[in-house]
Symmetry: C2
Subunit: 415 residues, 2 copies
Amino acid sequence: MPILVMKFGGTSVADLDRIRNAARKVKREVDAGYDVAVVVSAMSGKTNELVGWVREASNPPGSDSGGLYDAREYDAVVASGEQVTSGLMSLVLQEMGVPARSWQGWQIPLRTNNAHGAARIDSIGTEALHQKFSEGLHAVIAGFQGIGPDGRIATLGRGGSDTTAVALAAALGAERCDIYTDVDGVYTTDPRIEKRARKLDRIAYEEMLELASLGAKVLMTRSVELALRYKTRLMVRSSFSDDEGTLVCDEDEIMESKIVSGVAFSRDEAKITLLAVADRPGVAAAIFGPLAEAGVVVDMIVQNISEEGRTDMTFSLPVDDVSRARKALDAAAAAGEIAWREMVVDDAVAKVSVVGIGMRSHAGVAQRMFRALASEGVNIKVITTSEIKVSVLVDRKYMELAVQALHAAFELDVA
Amino acid sequence: MPILVMKFGGTSVADLDRIRNAARKVKREVDAGYDVAVVVSAMSGKTNELVGWVREASNPPGSDSGGLYDAREYDAVVASGEQVTSGLMSLVLQEMGVPARSWQGWQIPLRTNNAHGAARIDSIGTEALHQKFSEGLHAVIAGFQGIGPDGRIATLGRGGSDTTAVALAAALGAERCDIYTDVDGVYTTDPRIEKRARKLDRIAYEEMLELASLGAKVLMTRSVELALRYKTRLMVRSSFSDDEGTLVCDEDEIMESKIVSGVAFSRDEAKITLLAVADRPGVAAAIFGPLAEAGVVVDMIVQNISEEGRTDMTFSLPVDDVSRARKALDAAAAAGEIAWREMVVDDAVAKVSVVGIGMRSHAGVAQRMFRALASEGVNIKVITTSEIKVSVLVDRKYMELAVQALHAAFELDVA
């Protein structure tokens, strides 16, 4: 029988009523003839409670431990959240007449590397799962966790339950992996900003990757990457309706792709420009090395030649990282590693991007974008492009206007 | 190095302050040179919350499942409580400078039989624990759980964390197993009833067994049986003081044992008498067979010959079981399996017992007991005796008086 993986996030299993609601969706797929592997998150709020206890245990008032703790114990504590949901979901399914059992990561086994707290999946044993499927027993799998080479529970870090679901779907050769969440699919842009935003029926992996990394929080980048690598068909859909969601799939499965599929944005950006930096080999490393060491996540980087032997270097970063970045750069300057004439910080910018597989074969996307923004009087501060994306930085106060202008310019409100 | 097992119950690990308090006791033993295996319960209230969810999952409003559920899923859900405490205790110990790690039942492994929800321990692997002790790493063990032959989590039922601790102490060859709880030891009787009740320094396993089964709720019968079988020295002591508690040990370790060590009682008893039952072989089976099938826990049984070919049969039972017992007996009578002239039910009795290893070698204990009760005007309704115990049923309203009279008669207030 074909296998379907169904993943339910924390808000979809927040209490027993919601678990029952999710279980009804599982039953429907079982009745339709699938062997179902359900992947569950912790009930919403539980993970935060457990993480809070771990912090409190490791950092009592007056402690000088600096917030460090043993990630293996963090994993033992936090993984209990999904364990509880897996048992409850199995009981609810049984009560509905669906034969099911829970699986913890170590029982499958889902083997990870040793990076406790943010482990990566090494392998998934599917023999026991297939055996139980053949006995008519559906699977409810505690997401977010596996067993490390040390024989201890290892959690997968943020988005770990999505990753579990996609990796399982790939390992089991599932027909599809349905990610149930509190939104009903992937939209052309955020409906709170552009009310004519439209739900997409299908979107290519590469587009979804760009959207995920650009701040559309529907799916974590990591699980989309995994889906792309194994060509696992993902569907993002709502726990709270019966509508079809958005299928994330290979571009070959998308008949008539538009030039642009969506407009993404990221509100809390900042921009730092170093004016008149000495333009010599190694200068980029001298700037971005210290920033990386300080944990600053640099996004866009633009370098312009300004005058003889000098260059202006501009980069964008999350607004929360500005003071850390400034400190790291000043330290590098004090150490004589770099020098510049002036540092200009703009902490009131936002990033707006258009994304689409279709732009590969269509010139003029950037130009159409710039014209649309210009006609609304939105000034562009930085531009970067990739094969399927054009991103610009604009003043934060123009972000909504920019999103709406681009949504209209690329006719995203029309199916 | 000598090994010490320390077990902390739910109220002793109810929150992080209490876990820290418990951890300080562990550190003290570590500093004294022990390799310590800490066994922890779930934070108090957690198990009830988890059990409540299991019930709700299996029995939604309007369900006809009759309260049945898959005990394997119950185990997966409920075992998470101890898992959380084991991780938190390890983190707190680490923060105090005590190297420690958590162990789940399946990691040790603590192997059980397949009776999910009330499993029995089959074996405990100690190799990995000893290995980690030799590396200086103390152990924090999630109590109440192991791994069944099916590779799934199995919980040990009520008192399971005590059982885990005692079994571990036996398997590890521990010097002692300290059971930390919210009372500071075993008393000659309940101090709420007799304010001159005195904490015992030592008590023999057999005495503790009688007291445990008679309703003194300090230790579960099962863990005392285990301690007796393996001659594991148990100490019952308080989490909230630094006092020594009560050592439960072999009678050889008790120098001058008194004739009677304690007075136990059980308040909610009932007594049923069947008058003029036909006195023939098999009549006891004909009465107690149907009761056992109905799940009635019969305690004391007394048979008196009354008249030619007839006998009176009296037995005691928990007061909550009376209506079930009556129904079972009436059904057996209707089926012609037994007959009696009259059924007399007394549902207002209590059981009072004196317990002591010393009474083996001293005649006259029963007589001294009866005289003490008679002098207070307490009428005895049923008497049973064992090698180290004499129990009587009295009217419930005289229970406190009987306990006080016996406590004085056997001079239990004097060390």
